[in-house]
């Protein structure tokens, strides 16, 4: 089985690796609800962090727990997995300050699907704040103490350094992988890329590195095939819906980059070494491209998008938003204005548990036709 097949299996059976890993190593698995947290520290503790996700299936099991008209479909889908017992294997959950929708999942999980360990990192929202890093470092110190108390062991600098190295390597490899999407000839499709990115959040990062190296070796031997179609950027709310990406691909859209927290943004920015390891990790969290909620007071996301547009020669943008996602809803007008001033058309789609194929087909086809015509 080649590396891409393994990636495909991981994504299609998102719980399998963690369960097998637990049996094999006897280690602990922690579910995480946001990409903006100190994974290196968790990894250094010998824990496997896995991103908690929805299954993109309709559900009605959360209605006693989550106010349906107040919280996004992803949050409800995610918690539904917990209620259905699909995350029985996790030993704990960690939440890092982001949106209240994810926080609702964390709070309900703690209360109704009890785990051995839970922790909320009350990180800064306004990452540009002068004092945000110092505040975050002290929060991470408390978090480290909490982990050590739970595990009954110390997390030493050597372990943190090793974790940082593995994660930085992973980011470099992913940057190379993502780079292939920009090329005129590409051996990987966006569906492949999306699955590769998602797989990294579900398995041991060092094993992900091995798979990435294998994929890069395979790519280097291939000339790839010319990909046609308007060059698209995908961005918006958390989105692990492969069907949507496959769908866009099938209609002739050529995705060259994304800004999903379950995609490209997750792998952005390396940890820059510092004597204080927690400060180094905090530095990365402060400096990486932010999600809308952390992009305060200045809008730095748009300058990041400007860079991506230029690097990837983006011709059109598809903005996908989870139903009830007010974080991305509040940012949309500014993002739309930015792309329009660049002369780049943008299409907004509202996601739910499943992809409304008929509606999306019409809109995406029309959008692609418009892009092709111009």
């Amino acid at each position: 089985m080649n590396a891409l097949d393994k990636i495909h299996d991981i994504v299609n059976s998102p719980h399998q690796f963690a369960q097998d890993w637990k049996l094999k190593t006897g280690g602990k698995v922690i579910g995480i609800l946001c990409s903006n947290l100190p994974e290196e520290l968790i990894y250094a503790a010998g824990i496997l962090p896995v991103r908690l996700l929805g299954a993109n299936e309709p559900e009605n099991i959360t209605r006693s727990y989550i106010f349906q008209s107040g919280f996004c479909s992803f949050a409800r889908d995610c918690f539904a997995q917990a209620l259905q017992g699909r995350y029985k294997y996790i030993d704990g959950i960690i939440f890092s300050q982001c949106c209240p929708h994810a926080r609702e999942v964390f709070l309900d999980w703690k209360r109704h699907v009890p785990v051995n360990y839970s922790y909320e990192i009350t990180g800064p929202m306004s990452l540009q704040n002068t004092y945000a890093k110092g505040y975050l470092v002290r929060e991470l110190e408390e978090f480290q103490k909490s982990l050590e108390k739970w595990l009954g062991t110390q997390i030493d600098k050597k372990a943190i350094d090793k974790a940082i190295d593995i994660h930085n390597t992973n980011r470099r490899l992913m940057a190379q992988i993502y780079g292939t999407l920009k090329a005129e000839n590409s051996s990987l499709s966006e569906v492949d890329l999306a699955e590769i990115a998602l797989a990294g959040m579900l398995i041991d990062r060092s094993e992900h590195n091995l798979l990435l190296e294998e994929i890069l070796k395979q790519i280097s031997k291939s000339t790839g095939s010319a990909r046609t179609g308007p060059r698209l950027m995908l961005l918006g709310s958390v989105n692990n819906n492969m069907e949507l990406i496959r769908f866009i691909d099938s209609l002739g859209g050529r995705v060259v980059v994304d800004d999903y927290c379950t995609g490209y943004r997750y792998y952005q920015t390396e940890v820059v070494p510092e004597e204080n390891r927690l400060a180094a990790i905090a530095g990365r969290l402060i400096n990486k491209p932010p999600c809308p909620l952390h992009d305060l007071p200045e809008r730095r996301r748009v300058s990041y998008y400007a860079k991506l547009v230029e690097e990837c020669k983006v011709a059109g943008v598809i903005y996908t938003m989870q139903r009830q996602c007010d974080a991305h809803g509040l940012d949309y007008p500014a993002v739309e204005t930015f792309f329009k001033t660049k002369g780049i058309p943008i299409l907004k789609l509202e996601l739910d548990y499943t992809v409304p194929v008929g509606q999306f087909r019409t809109r995406i086809e029309a959008f692609l036709e418009m892009l092709t015509a111009t």
Binding site: G70, G134, L296, P297, G329
Partner: protein, 447 residues
Amino acid sequence: MTTKGDFETRSFSNEVWSRMKELRRERYKLSFEAQTKGGLCVTGFAWGYLPLLAGFGNFGNPSPGTDFTRIAREGAGSEGLVKFVNLAESRGLYPVCGAIAAHLGQVFAGTSFGGSTGNKIMPDFVFQPQGCHAQYKGGQICADLLGLPLLVIEAPFKNTANSRSYLYSQLAEAIEWIEKHTRHKFNDELFIEATRHDIHSRVMWAKICELMKAIPAPMSYRQAMSLRLPLVAYAYSKGTAEYMEMLYHEMQERVKNQISGAPFEKKRLAHEGLHPLYRPDLLRWPEEYGAAFNQGEFMMAFGSFRYTSDGHRIPGQTLEERGIELKSREDALKALVEQRYPLEEENTDYDSPEWRTLHFLRMVEDWHIDGVMVHLARRCAALCLGILTRIQDIRQAGIPVATYEASEGDPKEWNESRVREDFDRFFDSLGLKKIASLDGGDSGADE
């Protein structure tokens, strides 16, 4: 209402009502005049740490829009909230909570800082302290639209030394930021005075809320929403501090003489969540059934409280009661930080469901509440965080609880017959019968 009540009701004095209205007018006038008279003008959505701004002298604060209250009353009318919510949605702001959409719609319409006087003002910057995620981002959108700098101050949920230090540093830096961006000079004496008044006003409101434990309660929830108005955005003024003392003394008299805020208290009820701003009359619906809303988290929201070790809420202490004298900028900054994070409550997570449920149950116990009506605000994740679990806990504690769905700021989410049915069913479950009609009117004034 002409049915004879169980309790004597009496209007609050003319002194109290007049003074409240004077303070309201004073603050409203400041929104327009402060800048033309050389003062600051700021906008934003949330009213925290205003003493800091008062350190720059008189300032205008048209937040969230000079005519928001009037527009809220219009509700679904042609110049009401729905017009502005629709405008915000048409500009791509969806889904967004009703209140933020209504505010931003006014900014889009260019009516946010002019109002009915016809004057036009342009704030110096957007001040967005301590609020929910939608308020932070809403502040950013406002800053974008108006081309203004944005000052964000965040206060984390947990009461820790780290949070205190973070908030202190931000507040100290904010002074320099404002000086740099506006060229106004900060005056420590004005800041110290404003901080003193702010703390005093909030402590007095907490003491007023404590008097609501009396049976009958000397003030209804609806009356409180009007009478506490100066506290919301003007707590830092000497006038408000003195007004709160006046109101407190009058409340004490009312308790002594058994004067009630509502004619009946067959059931004492709490309203949980922010009520629909365009339908304040809802807060008087229980009176049609011989009951009254006496309490709720939002009633106490602007007060300064402390918590006992077993979760009871008690009024905070004034600086005088704590034996603290503010002598410097640093003292005043520390006082503001400690108002937010009392030292004796170290390690409290003010947003945790456990904390919120415990204090809610204590409130029910201490204020002798017989039932709770919860507003499930659509599109408001912040207000509805953990709410269904909290409702379950309240129910399990044996407290009758019911819900209704609407939006605090978007009248399109209001369905009168459905909400009425929810209320009627609740009252029925409490054994109440309709005894009167409010004749469709609402007034924060006494009838």
